[in-house]
Symmetry: C2
Subunit: 165 residues, 2 copies
DNA sequence: TCCACTTATCTTGACATCAAGATAAATCAG
DNA sequence: CTGATTTATCTTGATGTCAAGATAAGTGGA
């Protein structure tokens, strides 16, 4: 009886007409992600970053030289609204981790680039970040990790297909 | 190559020293939950609820008669801070879905109860909510659902043990 | 060329959340 | 019984997010 089982049991007692089967896996997914997120956030905080700022710096870093992308490029990878991204870039610009420059290809747009400080920060943070992820995933025995990933792949593919197309 | 694979491939090219294996399953978990959450939120919105308000009303409903709990009882089930809960209860009270009454057992505390309107709202919402969950989970073929849940159970148990004890 | 339409980004206003601290009541040791 | 500590909830101030709309520049057909 994990906490999700308890919740299902309560519903079964007080709303026996409901089919609460799906609540099990979906509830567990949510809780797992909640805990993982909290740990990853704690780790990033050591570098002065939040998940939000990490998610802007990381695409710039992994894009390779010259470490610059337009807000639109960033948005495409990020499941947030444009206003949120504007705000995140503002904060990172104030912190000196990125710089805005005019986009020579499109005067409506900008190029957001890592500064030297931004490069150093994301490089150190991502090194620690992947170690944290490895540690968190290793909570699950290796055979179970191996069994889990194909299922997540399948689920994500289905869910994304339904969301976008 | 799903979007998470693309991100890993970029890191491997530009930071070949990193072990980005764990990013795969952890990234997929996050994205799956993001999509599921969005769908569930949309469904709840039809009842004038958010995930936040649902998460207060639901424990009251499944507690059974007299459908009342203290803020502390609610907090224990809810992974949020006390200030957030205060605010949620304030909103629900304004909306007429719950009522605050003094707690006869402890004068520091209150009893939060479903009003008639609150009861009707959560009863309709949860009926639709479990149907939505069932529909979302059925994106995954049944054998894969059956394989997934034990893995999530194991992962949640490990992660929760690490978080709390 | 010109106008309508689309695209890229930013702005505004409302709201939910958290961390930290305040308040008040309960508990417990002596 | 008293003072110190703990517990339960609320308050405050800062921040991040979104939805909707504004602004400005690019695009394409007549």
């Amino acid at each position: 009886m994990d906490p999700v089982d308890e919740i299902q049991a309560q519903w079964r007692r007080h709303r026996p007409d409901l089919d609460v089967e799906a609540m099990g896996p979906i509830g567990r997914l949510g809780r797992i992600v909640h805990y993982l997120t909290r740990e990853m956030d704690r780790n990033l905080a050591q570098f002065g970053l939040t998940a939000a700022s990490f998610d802007v710096l990381a695409p710039l870093r992994r894009a390779g030289p010259p470490y610059s992308l337009s807000p639109g490029d960033l948005l495409a990878t990020m499941m947030i609204t444009s206003g949120t991204l504007t705000n995140r870039i503002d904060q990172l610009e104030k912190a000196g981790l990125v710089a805005r420059a005019p986009n020579p290809d499109d005067r409506r747009s900008f190029l957001i680039s890592l500064t030297e400080a931004g490069f150093a920060t994301i490089d150190a943070a991502v090194t620690s970040h992947v170690e944290t992820q490895k540690r968190l995933l290793s909570i699950l025995p290796e055979e179970e990790q191996a069994a889990l990933d194909p299922l997540l792949r399948s689920f994500l593919a289905g869910v994304a297909a339904r969301a976008s197309g």
